[in-house]
Chain length 352, copies 4
């Protein structure tokens, strides 16, 4: 496929640009018989929506989703589900000054060089806004996984720049703008972000996502392992620079006698595997960790070049997320759900 | 596709089991006109071959590759290139004692539960032996990339368990069994491995791989980004638990003003991006880092269960790599080359 | 992919139901730099639009297409092009009486049995209305093929039920509602159709489509031959029951000395091959012939069963095409164009 | 994928050249637990084997298949099944005289122009010999379909050049070299072929293939309809110039009141649909008809050009089938079986 489609049996084809008429996706392969209406999808979209706190971009987008097909009388029919989100708050003038220059760390440069031209309005296709259709598709996946297998996919921020966020409780996560599992640390996060905004700078973050109740047996080795496909979707997200499963990079210093999770008649002891062995789910929680880079659209002046290759100074003044990691949690949850449902269907296809 | 094929235009389909008659792959989509003979492939296979030092498995496999198709008079014809490697040193009796038990940290358990049965001989399909066909395919990719674009793909070990390996020189890499870019540290690595073998245990490692001279413009956003496809193949490898690009997990604590690589008329200043922005190559070196877990086949006794779910003690006595990271370097180089050639052809297809 | 996507590099994902909110498609992989606006697409949609003569369905649909993405300042950007067509004249009450019965020869039965439910409004997903997005995508393909290679794809009706239509001139084709290349025969066709409507019945047809100026070398044997992919898209169309290339079924009685097109320094003598040898284009015109069945929605009473399996009599009173072949010509042209552009890009990718 | 792979969940990747070391395929996605040994596959290969009567090529190939992977203790494991057939009777000198000329009606010309070079030995990759791996893969599909669903796929010749072969009995089919369902007509067929050989010419044929007991519900509309995928594989075969389903081209002259198969509580009345409605199987037999062209390798002298574009006279003296249709029946059975199993698994994946 030509790059904008995910999946083998549960397929998501993403379209749109940040300031074009609309963004959206087509979900092909959703099993028939799933109760679904726009509110199911809207709930997830609202979780990633911009403008909901002072720590994220102030762009105002209702992100209202319309289901164009594939649902009849509130139930999926097995045919493609097209989802449409109109762009409403597109202020292209904010970006006019950067149409001919390349922001350091931004896809401006590579899009222009790859295609010979680019849509510069709001980052065009490279904008993080294009994660919204993924979240919409993921909402369908999440609902099916929950209803069919009792699977719960949820994530949280484990680090904001220099501040590690010790896990306290899942209950804390929805109660703050950071998806932090630790209410006590929120004031520190807020203070950090307030100073960062004053500095006109941005910061990285680390996100964890966990899927519970995944049955044993999902994943297609050799190449399309469950963890390989998870890595693929995660680095398919804007700003992600690293992904790991289970013990992740800590496994470098582990011995086999420490890393290999022992098994007892009551189940596994530990989960260094992160719920995947040999590319196939173990029945343990699938645990994923992500590194998210700081956004490249900042007020700090930086050296760059323009389309003619001449040196310029770049400063980005539009509305931007100073930490894209803050809104990443619902996105990465969706991504994990999309991989899981695809492998659920593939497994059912081959192994009955 | 059904899980054992990589790529969209340059496709590799992998087959075989560790102790079956043969392993191999079919490479479909190789451009015509490339000079190719078995020696080109053999050279790469010999780099990952077992039995070449005391620090790796003592299984003796010549890993002689036969080209079955797709090459005529020493030149590729554009038709599928089938590569065959016979298994010769398969001692299945070594594994008979574990046919009914599950090694902690091993795919024994998941294969059995997924498929209802498994080939237990030498780990069957889940064996690291199945990386050999990938290396063979990668040799073709490497040759084409070098000839068409002057691309060089090479890797090294940057950490062995607790021992970081500071980079000194590429010249040191081929001169030791560890692919360490630092001759001075080799005695320490050897001593560590000798003790580990005495302990009957295994250890993790970290590998870096770099592709130089990659042109700007390769990669297909949104989903099939160059870095996403790199992540996919890397976690498609046995034992890999994490992958990162450029600054990787260090980006979590970076500010945008530090992370975003500035551009001057002479090129980029720094490479935190790892050669990829917005999923598209920048023209800078593509840099990838991998975490490789310790192998699960160790002499240390561990708790597990058998096929009936009863508690057992497992100790693996066969010939195994105490650190699969040691032989990983040529494999990850091949993987990166396979992603690059596929995106080279995709880019040429769409953008001419 | 999950069934509703065509192509490997130039991919079309189709969505929608006859009486849902909208139909459309996403075109992924269109080369950047193609001048494109909605009028280019609208012109082709208008050719297949219903309600344009008394011989086709009287449903009134403007079929106004909106380009949602992938085009900036009138030029394609290389990113997915989403095309949206709102359904406006959906009279679902016309179909309420058939929601629980299965029309003989219609997909009512199979959809219900496959998915466990179906959208009965206007045939839902199985309606010929879903060929509109294909035509829209095909308009893009046609434009690129014409500009890049001077390719012209055009078709005509060669038989309407019992009436063969001898080819006279391409000029006659756009001048009548039947796409007949023979103005003189049009009164006979009209009289036939008028009687058919009075009978409340429907009829089959045969369509020819030809692509001129296709370069030699497109097609990917063994399986994805150019003619194989043509056959795939053509039988992917509603109501098509047969497809042939070049001499087609006449080759059954031909000798090799007659069938094989001789070659002279001036080119081929004859075109029994239909422009394809060994699955690869020859440089001759690609010629395709299609058999299109009579529509199943007729006023003539027929025996069937209802959802409970009880015998019923079915008579379909809604607005339907009495000969879907009449509007098929622009559709099959689009289909052929979609295959050609996909193979153009694949060839460029592999063979440079 | 890059052209030599069939299927979405049950995937077959074909490799090899007529006179290279070997031909074969990799079958990826076969469900685990199927009893399978080489004899199951050999039986089907023997049905298409050359040299078994005076009416086919006298090339002697044992076509012994070796299973390289994916089967353990006589049962499929769910991992890729690689099948290898060594070429043994390759007389390349027979073809040396045609290395620089293009046979009329042959892929010599198109391969050379597409790839810039070709393997001329025995037609290289374009040889009908490459149908052997397809037959081998089809044998696996047939076995699974029979065991899981009681499906029987079988075919016969319905016309040899000018001689129609009225269907008398399936019992007659295996009793003659032509797969003719009519023992009485065999002497006429033999006399025709004997004269044809004396003439040094070749002839076309028509083949029918039928799958019984296919459940209702297989097929993925819009594009990957069951009949679309059947058409794809059939025109993916050498020498096939046309394919039709059910009434096929006869539907052109049928009225809707005649074509649409009525339904009663006891089932369908008639099968003009050929077992497919709306792209989904109906539960009726799936019936397919194929037009097979005369082979282009004949002794009759013909005009052509050489690689330099100069006029030459071509006469092919090697061992060739004067009617490739004679050996086509087991091949088209395999092709149909491959489509059916793929859609069986896809349906199970999406619809459970």
């Amino acid at each position: 496929m030509s790059g904008n489609t995910l999946g083998t049996l549960f397929c998501v084809t993403n379209f749109g640009e940040s300031h074009g008429p609309a963004i959206g996706c087509v979900v092909d392969g959703c099993p028939p018989g799933l109760a679904l209406d726009a509110a199911d999808i809207q709930a997830e979209l609202d979780r990633r929506r911009p403008g909901t706190s002072r720590h994220v971009t102030q762009r105002q987008e209702a992100d209202q989703v319309e289901i164009l097909s594939g649902v009849y009388q509130g139930v999926t029919t097995g045919t493609p589900i097209a989802l449409l989100i109109r762009n409403t708050d597109a202020r292209s003038k904010d970006y006019s000054n950067i149409a001919d220059t390349f922001r350091p760390g931004h896809a401006d440069f590579t899009y222009t060089r790859k295609y010979g031209l680019r849509d510069p309005r709001g980052g065009g296709r490279s904008s993080a806004r294009l994660t919204a259709p993924t979240v919409a598709a993921g909402a369908i996946a999440k609902k099916w996984l929950a209803e069919q297998h009792g699977i719960r996919v949820r994530g949280y921020m484990s680090q904001l720049g220099p501040i590690p966020i010790p896990f306290v409780s899942w209950d804390d996560v929805p109660a703050n703008a950071f998806y932090a599992p630790n209410a006590a640390i929120v004031p520190e996060l807020e203070a950090y972000m307030d100073q960062l905004r004053r500095d006109g700078d941005s910061i990285g973050a680390r996100i964890e996502v966990v899927a519970e109740n995944v049955p044993v047996g999902w994943g297609e080795p050799v190449y399309d392992r469950l963890d390989a496909d998870i890595a693929h979707v995660m680095l398919g997200l804007n700003a992600v620079k690293g992904v790991s499963i289970g013990a992740g990079f800590d496994c470098v210093t582990q011995r086999g006698s420490e890393h290999g999770d022992e098994i007892t008649p009551d189940g596994f002891v530990g989960n260094n595997a992160g719920g995947v062995l040999g590319g196939i789910s173990t029945g343990q929680p699938v645990t994923v960790s992500l590194a998210i880079k700081p956004t490249s659209s900042i007020r700090v002046e930086r050296r760059s070049i323009n389309a003619e290759g001449e040196p310029v100074t770049v400063q980005t003044l539009g509305r931007h997320d100073p930490c894209v990691g803050i809104r990443a949690t619902p996105i990465v949850e969706s991504m994990l759900a999309l991989v899981l449902i695809d492998h659920a269907l593939r497994h059912r296809g081959q192994c009955g």
